[in-house]
Amino acid sequence: MGTGGLLSVNELAKRYGATVALQSLTMDVAPHEVHAILGENGAGKSTLVKILSGVVRANGGTMRLDGIEYIPHSIVDARRAGVSTAFQELSLLPNLTVAENLLLPNVSGGPFKMSRRGETVDAARQVLSKFNVTDIDPRSRVEDLSLAEKQRVEIVRAFSHEPRLLILDEPTAALPDTTWLFDQIRRLTETGVAILYISHRLGEVRELCQRATVLRNGVSTGTVDLEGINDDEIFRMMVGRAPEARFPGRTASIAERPVALEGRNLAAGRLHDVSFTLQQGAILGVAALEGQGQVELFRALAGLDPISGGTILVDGKPTAIASPQQAMAAGISYVPEERKIEGVFSGLSTAANVSLPKIMENSKAGFLTYAQDARAITEPAKAVELAERYFGFRMNDLSGGNQQKAVLARALMSDARCLVMFDPTRGVDVGTKQAIYNMMRAFADKGGAILVYSSELAELVNLCDACLVIYGGRIAAEVPRAELSEEHLLSAAHGHVDDAPLRVAS
């Protein structure tokens, strides 16, 4: 690695407790360069952004900026060192004006000074016009702007701190037209600014960037020259060759089974015109990059959020699912992503949590005993390999894997015929994953239907009978079993279909 670069990062690592977000990242960035960071969801990209911008501190490794050790302690500290960031989640304050947002944290010019509206607005207008934004009124409140306008304000704010290193985290996620951004990027790099460009849109990356560093599971797998590598090779670097997990084989054919769950032209939030059919005994996968609309789809099917258009059909009959109670009554059971938030009563015993769907049937004159709970859950617990000794534990005291098993057991408990699972294996250990795979297979073999989203493509490839790929709120591809491969799913999830770049207007 050359030392002539602006930024050099060596074996950077970040752990949150036992979770490793970034294991070892090594890269360097030169002045004038637009350097891409590529990686799947959860590969460690956002952790890198947070460390570089001073939001969190690394646990290991070194960063040097112009040869000087760089350890930013806050956003302001990072800005002072010449690093500024346009965040993906947008860091604007909706209740303040565009002008105030641009000048934060020093709007008034000093701790004991008052801001004058005219001066603030003039200063902001100058900043905006310097970066060629003339259609946004600095007096507007940010909450009144469109998403694309907000994104431009966020980007202009990062520009305005005159950084030497500029970090753009998914800057085009909400920009329908990238011309403005790309012009500004070219102008800045001409003056020597280096840009770290994080985007899942490979087309853009190729247009802008010279080199890319690929991250996989928190490890940088190398920096590549984008000229000399094709998309497939990049996807392979991102996916890697993880040892294949043991996936249970299928027993029955599902060719002519009746349809258990069907969506017709569903719309909700950013989701548009999504149609799918899920047969009894089938496992239908959903693959998507973060934030493409999969959350809306699953929450709508679970009755957590209303749909704004389309029809949900259960067993061929149009069914209104406006609440989780209605979803359950229709035989749909939802396994949520964040069990800590959506899934469990952490203070209650495991038995009580699992038996919840049958709480009325199991009670005697309105009372429940632990013994009744424990008896009732024996069978579903066995199906997910949840050991009996955990029944009496409070959910809090269970490991993440066992909590997830309990949530699955509860889903089985409800006699659901259709499971809607959102990333069920996220953050659980290998053994639990195996148990979850087995349970899913067994459920489908008994005639149940499963719709599953997973951020691990290998799971989808090996478990599913077919896979939907959602991109930009629409179904970008429907991949049948025979064509399932991680590379295929990943490239479709990036908006590529059959190697032809597909740009979905946002």
């Binding site: 806050s74 956003i75 304050l93 209740n95 303040l96 934060l104 008052m114 409140r141 009144d144």
Partner: protein, 337 residues
């Protein structure tokens, strides 16, 4: 920048001006409560013509000022996204201190003022430290300091008693040059200080932190310092509320602050400040507090049993909050289409 570009631009600019006005009204909340306040005055004056006499106005303002100051202080904490229960403790403690250690004369009044400001600042800084730096929930932290302050107040004065220096109890409840009530001057001064403060970096930070602390942090705001400052301001204003309460009652009472605890939250809500933080302001709270006190007078003058006062205060508060939410909803939905 051709003419073709600019025509639609002015359209949207006009629309956004209108929207800004609407959201401005909604977020200020002060406008609505001012209307309610004026209406109440009209009812009051038509029921009881003597209400407009200088004496009557002066005494109403004197009655209202302690709650107005307490509500102003509470607004700082609510804006940054929290609740401050120590208001009751600080008012009790300040009242007791002023009544047990009276210092005569105008200079003495300043000494007493310095005492209560010191008390308020010390307790406010403790609250701020616990909430901002120790990350204790504001209700828990300020509940603790409230209990401590009330305990200290009882140590200083076991039962109602003591006396307040004559300068405080006479001059500060009178009128300047016999025309302008001192209470009005103090209320106006707080409003002016607030209008200046909300334009400082800390003032803007208060709104930012209350709306979205994470985004505020990413915008470079020192979130902890902003929270700390809010509790300090609040403490000082509670101290002043206790001081003006002493001026009005001319005596000390170790539980004098208790009625202020819930009423000051009511005044803040009535004034259009959102309990979820980030929108509203002190002006609304000042008028909100004045409205609550005026309502008691109106109900009394119209012959409604005083037992109904609480019912009316509650109903008006619910209506005000609903109306503010409605205006906000209207402006928001118009903004999106």
């Amino acid at each position: 920048m051709s003419a073709a570009d600019t025509t639609p631009m002015t359209d949207t600019a006009q629309a956004s001006d209108k929207r800004r006005l609407l959201t401005g009204l909604a977020s200020q909340g002060a406008v609505l409560i001012t209307v309610v306040y004026v209406l109440l005055w009209i009812i009051y004056a038509s029921e009881q013509p003597s209400a407009l006499s200088a004496y009557s106005i002066e005494s109403l303002l004197n009655n209202s000022l302690p709650l107005m100051l307490a509500a102003a202080g509470q607004t700082f904490v609510v804006l940054q996204g929290g609740f401050d229960l120590s208001v009751a403790g600080i008012i009790s403690l300040s009242n007791v201190v002023v009544a047990v250690y009276p210092v005569e004369g105008p200079f003495g009044a300043l000494v007493n003022l310095a005492m209560v400001v010191g008390i308020g600042l010390a307790v406010g800084a403790t609250n701020g430290f616990l909430v901002a730096y120790m990350r204790i929930q504001s209700i828990a932290a300020t509940l603790a300091t409230m209990i401590i302050c009330q305990g200290i107040a009882l140590l200083i004065l076991k039962a109602p008693g003591g006396y307040v220096s004559e300068f405080i109890s006479y001059e500060l409840t009178g009128s300047l040059f016999g025309v302008v009530p001192v209470a009005a001057v103090i209320g106006a001064a707080v409003a002016v200080i607030w209008l200046a403060f909300r334009r400082t970096n800390t003032g803007i930070a208060l709104y930012a932190v209350g709306r979205d602390a994470a985004a505020a942090e990413l915008s470079g705001i020192d979130v902890r310092r902003a929270r700390f400052a809010a509790f300090c301001w609040a403490g000082v204003l509670y101290g002043c509320a206790g001081y003006m309460l002493s001026a009005q009652t001319a005596t000390g009472n170790p539980s004098a602050g208790e009625p202020f605890l819930l009423l000051c939250f009511a005044a803040v809500a009535l004034g259009g400040t959102s309990f979820s933080g980030g929108s509203g302001g002190v002006i609304g709270s000042l008028i909100g507090a004045a409205t609550l006190m005026l309502m008691q007078k109106v109900l009394f003058s119209t012959g409604v049993s005083s037992f109904y006062t609480g019912v009316f205060q509650g109903v008006i508060m619910i209506l005000a909050v609903l109306f503010a939410a409605f205006v906000q909803y209207m402006s928001r939905s118009r903004g999106n289409r």
